[in-house]
């Protein structure tokens, strides 16, 4: 029921501009300011590479960090190409 109809308003347009600024800011922050390293091991259910984008579907993953250890049943990893290869995950 929430129409995106009102994006083309003064308020909506300025918020769109901010969203673009956010895109730039988050990309540079992830590239420059994040230093953590996470290892993971799992069963690879599916992979795909198209349009320079890797998609993985993993099962039974163990994410390991120095401090933590998380077990996940299923995860999807989408890899975009960047200068320092950014990626994002969804569960």
């Amino acid at each position: 029921m929430a129409y995106q109809l009102y994006r083309n308003t003064a308020l909506g347009n300025s918020l769109q501009v901010i969203l673009l600024q956010f895109d730039k800011a988050i990309n540079s922050a992830l590239a420059q300011r994040v230093r953590n390293r996470v290892n993971f091991r799992s069963f690879l259910n599916m992979y795909r590479f198209c349009d320079n984008l890797w998609t993985f579907v993993l099962n039974d993953i163990e994410f390991r960090e120095v401090t933590k250890f998380i077990k996940v049943d299923e995860a999807k990893i989408v890899d975009c190409d960047g200068k320092n290869t950014g990626s994002n995950t969804t569960e």
Partner: protein
Amino acid sequence: MASAPWPERVPRLLAPRLPSYPPPPPTVGLPSMEQEEAYLELYLDQCAAQDGLAPPRSPLFSPVVPYDMYILNASNPDTAFNSNPEVKETSGDFSSVDLSFLPDEVTQENKDQPVISKHETEENSESQSPQSRLPSPSEQDVGLGLNSSSLSNSHSQLHPGDTDSVQPSPEKPNSDSLSLASITPMTPMTPISECCGIVPQLQNIVSTVNLACKLDLKKIALHAKNAEYNPKRFAAVIMRIREPRTTALIFSSGKMVCTGAKSEEQSRLAARKYARVVQKLGFPARFLDFKIQNMVGSCDVRFPIRLEGLVLTHQQFSSYEPELFPGLIYRMVKPRIVLLIFVSGKVVLTGAKERSEIYEAFENIYPILKGFKKA
């Protein structure tokens, strides 16, 4: 007594079990209904034969034969392969049939037969062959050559039904296995190796097939699982499947290369699976001109070899540059096979189009290598 239950049972078996492979191309003669009737006839024939307890026609008709025997691939592979899985899948379903109305000795054989057919179906359609029941394809090849009487006698007791089902079928693959039975003892295709019985094992088979339709590679890469497509680097989709473990290169022209299979039948099966994936994505894929382009085998002669001596006496065939590559490259003229011979005694044979060429090349090289045994 036996006629009453048949009509209820058998159609149930045949109807839902249509082959999971792509539907047969129009070149196949029989439409599916008539094919099912043909299989119904086969089943009834085989059961009728079992009632008479007829011994198997030929000891070489173990049911594993039509599938993995390399000779089978020679002619008309398209129809051959199409009908074969149908035959085996339908016969595999007999395990659910209640056969208690049959006399005891036949029931026993029948119970063995559907289990084995089912095993065979599994073997053929994807999983590991149960070692307890069926020999592995390589053993079976040796078995056919060296131990045909003993091995197949044990099988003949278990598979009288299958042999009968194989024989009366009008389908080409079974006539191929008929000719197979007569040919096998005579031609030197059986891998009887020089005394020790070393048989080269196939490690890789490269084959090509034409799907005969233009493909949208981006659509395939987006929708198929386990696919890579990087047009800047290579103009084909690289797809992989787990069983048989193979990789395929699929081009936009519709041509496809399938690599990584360990046997001819596995290569064909894998290529069919890729074709099915493409077909399910909406392309009118067919399966034309399946051809095995290269076969690689390897084996171990179990003694070290003096490569220097070999290159001196066979210099027109060999090239040995230890600083470049530690193996001697022997280019045999007949058959036209390239062998990589290593000091350890391991031999790699490649360049074959047929399994027999690998075996023949090894039989040719083995006495030569024995002459250059170290120490």
